[in-house]
């Protein structure tokens, strides 16, 4: 922290969306050469605040100064010119264009009749070397790894001369080791005099990288703490504002073998998605699949939801060989929770009640001879929304108007009733079940999964969030490049070993067993 002019000053920023107050009178300063962490739950107003800062939104009240100069609102161009750079959580890159193209965009006057590509290329390489962010300028972005893409994102900002860098949940898609490398980069940036806003909801990394922590809750700035003088517990309490105790697992008896995969291989368009995957999940057991996004988890989830066919290998549930047809899986009482709620979980334009029965509409419970039993379906939906605490104004509203948490509860309810009301599913396949949910909803989802396991369901959870897996999984397996390592008891796993396996390293865990497939 320096005593001089702050790099950035937010004064009394307020932003409303209809009735919702997303940011409520937030005032905050960022010192030059400082890393300030912005901590808060999903929905606390972090994204809105940086969107205002970067000109995607205009605040209803308040103003922003960058190095003492007022920043014109609602203009990303002005933010860029003032030296504010943004690294989005979902990378803002064009996959089909080269790294150079992605970086060069917007750096030259639009009407200039030529592009100085050679000079730009040299300058890009120069910038990359200075900050230790090596990347090939001519590579197509589609061919880069997640870590490399993030480097391109940072380079984009640096190339434009950013003095203030905003990183939105930058570690969400990285391995622990890649995260470490990012932290090193941040240290270099700070030495070079840049100021950094680091947005996160993960307490450990906030404590690790920042000088100060600003905690947001419900759109308000609840506290700003010096990192050295705070603790994880204190920050957690500030962030949540109430005592939410996440449920934890207890020892449960494991029953018969339910899900069994052996030698499963799947490919699409010449690319191997799953490579000799084997896995066993028993009744009453929760198995977690860890891994960096893009290492085959999508394919594994699709396979276990019946929407992807294996080229080779055996997939069975309770001893029955399964076909690649969702109805087959539904018939075998498999509860399926997809990763993308909006795109895959529900048909947003159709009413809630139709979404609630969509999986089982063809069954005699909800239709006869192709005619839908509307009253039965609606009655079922009413009970379901009550039981799973889905808050809505009526079961006839389109599903798209539900909030993320309520939508996930609807999907959860639908999935868990796959075997009929009050009947425990045989198997639950949950892909990123708590992504983007606030902590209350996370606790709810975890509770449901733990209860289902206690009632005898076999549960498979695919998650990029290691904390989640350590909290609820009995065993954890790591996926890397389409191969699945052995599922080892959570007690015997160290975070470091899992991280190494996520990065494809062949190092062993504490007990000497390799964590990923040979």
């Amino acid at each position: 922290m320096t005593e001089s002019l702050p790099a950035l000053r937010l004064a009394n920023i307020t932003k409303r969306f209809g009735k919702l107050v997303a940011n409520d009178g937030i005032s905050l300063e960022l010192g030059t050469g400082e890393v300030l962490a912005l901590l808060g739950e999903n929905g606390a107003g972090k994204s809105t605040l940086v969107s205002i800062l970067f000109g995607h939104y205009v605040a209803d009240e308040g103003h922003i100064e960058v190095f003492g100069q007022p920043l014109p609102p609602g203009n990303p161009k002005a933010a860029l010119a003032a030296g504010v750079g943004m690294v989005h959580q979902h990378f803002a890159l064009a996959d089909n264009l080269s790294v150079l193209d992605n970086v060069l965009l917007g750096s030259e006057p639009l009407w200039q009749p030529f592009s100085r590509r050679r000079a730009a290329r040299a300058r890009l390489i120069d910038t990359a070397n200075r900050f230790g962010l090596g990347v090939n300028p001519d590579a197509r972005v589609a061919t880069l790894s997640v870590g490399e893409r993030q480097r391109v994102e940072i380079l984009k900002a640096l190339y434009r001369g950013a003095r203030i860098l905003i990183l939105d949940e930058p570690t969400a898609v990285l391995t622990p080791q890649e995260s470490e490398s990012l932290f090193t980069t941040l240290a270099t940036l700070v030495t070079e005099g840049l100021s950094v806003i680091f947005i996160s909801h993960k307490l450990d990394e906030v404590l690790r990288v920042s000088a100060r922590v600003a905690v947001l809750r419900g759109g308000r700035l609840v506290s700003v703490r010096n990192t050295e003088h705070t603790t994880k517990t204190e920050l957690a309490e500030l962030m949540v504002g109430r005592s939410v105790t996440l449920p934890t697992r207890e020892p449960r008896p494991h029953g018969d073998l339910v899900l069994s995969l052996s030698g499963v291989h799947a490919a699409h368009a010449g690319k191997t998605l799953l490579d000799d995957v084997g896995l066993m999940v028993r009744a009453g057991e929760i198995v977690g699949i860890a891994g960096v996004s893009g290492n085959g988890q999508h394919a594994l989830a699709d396979l276990l939801c019946g929407t992807l066919a294996a080229d080779r290998g055996e997939v069975s549930v309770s001893g029955q060989t399964m076909r690649a047809n969702p109805r087959d899986w539904i018939a075998r009482r498999v509860a399926r929770i997809p990763e993308d709620r909006h795109a895959v979980g529900v048909v947003g334009d159709l009413p809630v009640w139709e979404n609630a029965v969509s999986e089982r509409l063809h069954l005699p419970a909800f239709s006869r001879a192709g005619i839908v039993r509307g009253r039965t379906a609606r009655d079922f939906t009413r009970r379901l929304v009550t039981q799973f605490d889905v808050r809505l104004s009526g079961i006839d509203v389109p599903a798209r108007v539900l909030s993320g948490g309520n939508m996930q509860k609807l999907i959860l309810g639908r999935a868990l009733s796959v075997a009929g009301e009050g009947v425990t599913p045989t198997l639950i396949v949950a892909n990123q079940p708590t992504w983007g949910l606030d902590i209350g909803a996370v606790a709810y989802v975890h509770r449901c999964l733990l209860d289902a396991a206690a009632a005898g369901a076999a549960v498979l959870v695919i998650s990029e969030d290691l904390d989640e897996l350590f909290a609820i999984a009995d065993r954890i397996a790591v996926m890397f490049k389409g191969r699945l390592g052995p599922a080892l008891p959570t007690e015997g796993c160290s975070r470091a070993a899992i991280g190494l396996a996520m990065a494809g390293s062949t190092a062993s865990n504490t007990e000497g067993a390799p964590l990923h497939a040979a």
């Binding site: 203009n75 047809n325 969702p326 539904i330 795109a343 947003g348 334009d349 969509s358 509203v397």
Partner: protein
């Protein structure tokens, strides 16, 4: 300017959308009428009069509405599943051709069948011809990812050339003195008249009946649910276990059949033979009708009546004042665009200035 999603949703707004769209359309087209040098009020009055002013005019409007209801339904059901069938024009012609092939060749005695059976066969053949013509593009969309808009559009030209070829060849009317028209349908197979001394035929009953049937299917059956789900979000539909491919293909068959039936109706109810100019763009107007109706099968009935009235009224009006009857096409096209905007505004609100 930016768009803001409306969080509440209103049935009333969706009912008002087409009315507002049509009013805006008439206001815009008034400028063209004025440009053509005609008094706007009188022109619109004549147009209305020409469509509804007399028993004869209304009968003409109903006759015109018959194929429009069917092509409107064809577009509505296809668009519901997000299958952009722009080929109703071609499917209509093939339906007409197939009807004559069954009921007109060799004086209708191709198949030695009792009349009701032959009549049913004629209708089925028309429906099948339209359905099969759309099956190819639908299959290419599903299996190869080829955009069905372009393929169905291109196939319209192929269909018309096919008809022209048949009219020059095996289905040529030997008595037509060189006019490109097909042999006539066996008179016994022609649809009965619904109103004395008019051209309104029982094809209208078939069209209205099919509209009601389509509504029942979409609303109350599992297939109807699959249709809507696939159209609104096919990934979610596939995840829920709905048979996406089968639904799209069935929808294509249904849509093509409806357009084919429009052709059957024109031959059996009105013209009794096929010519290459028998449809003044019924297939394309069907798209406008479907959009005006918000893809609702019962709404199609009203929308088709509106378009038919504009077309029939414009013909009659243009004979009195010097406004070319092409104004009808302009009104229909403008209505499509205003309806698109009106529908959007039921879901989004425009905010001026920056976010």
């Amino acid at each position: 300017m930016r768009l803001e999603s409306r969080t509440e949703y209103s049935r009333r707004a969706m009912l008002f959308a087409p009315i507002v769209a049509i009013l805006v359309t008439l206001a815009v087209c008034a400028l063209l009428v004025a440009w053509a040098g005609a008094p706007v009020g009188q022109t619109y009055a004549l147009l209305f009069d020409g469509a509804f002013g007399s028993r004869f005019a209304f009968a003409e409007t109903l006759t015109r509405a018959t194929p429009l209801i069917l092509t409107g339904l064809a577009a509505a059901v296809a668009f519901r599943a997000r299958l952009f069938n722009i080929g109703a024009e071609g499917q209509l012609y093939l339906g007409a051709l197939a009807a004559v092939a069954v009921g007109g060749m060799h004086g209708g005695s191709t198949f030695d069948l009792p009349l009701p059976l032959l009549s049913a066969l004629m209708i089925a053949a028309g429906a099948a011809a339209g359905a099969l013509w759309l099956l190819g593009p639908a299959w290419m969309k599903l299996k190869l990812g080829v955009d069905e808009v372009v393929t169905t559009l291109l196939l319209n030209f192929v269909a018309l050339l096919l008809v022209s070829m048949m009219l020059d060849g095996p289905m040529k009317d030997p008595l037509a003195m060189g006019w490109p028209q097909s042999v006539a349908l066996d008179p016994e197979l022609e649809f009965s008249r619904l109103i004395e001394r008019s051209r309104v035929h029982s094809g209208l009953l078939m069209a209205v009946g099919l509209a009601i049937l389509m509504w029942l299917i979409e609303r109350f059956t599992t297939f109807g649910f699959a249709l809507r789900a696939v159209g609104a979000n096919n990934r979610a539909a596939a995840f829920a276990g709905l048979p996406v491919g089968r639904t799209v293909l069935l929808c294509a068959l249904l849509s093509g059949a409806l357009a084919g039936l429009a052709g059957v109706g024109e031959v059996a109810g009105r013209a009794s033979y096929v010519t290459t100019d028998m449809s003044p763009g019924y297939g394309y107007a069907g798209i406008v009708i479907a959009m005006l109706a918000g893809l609702h099968p019962l709404g199609v009935l009203l929308a088709a009546l509106f378009v038919a009235a504009v077309q029939v009224g414009a013909d009659s009006m243009s004979r009195v004042v010097g406004v070319p009857n092409f104004i009808a096409d302009v009104i229909v096209a403008t209505a499509l665009l205003t309806m698109l905007v009106a529908t959007l505004l039921t879901r989004y609100r425009i905010r001026w200035g920056r976010a």
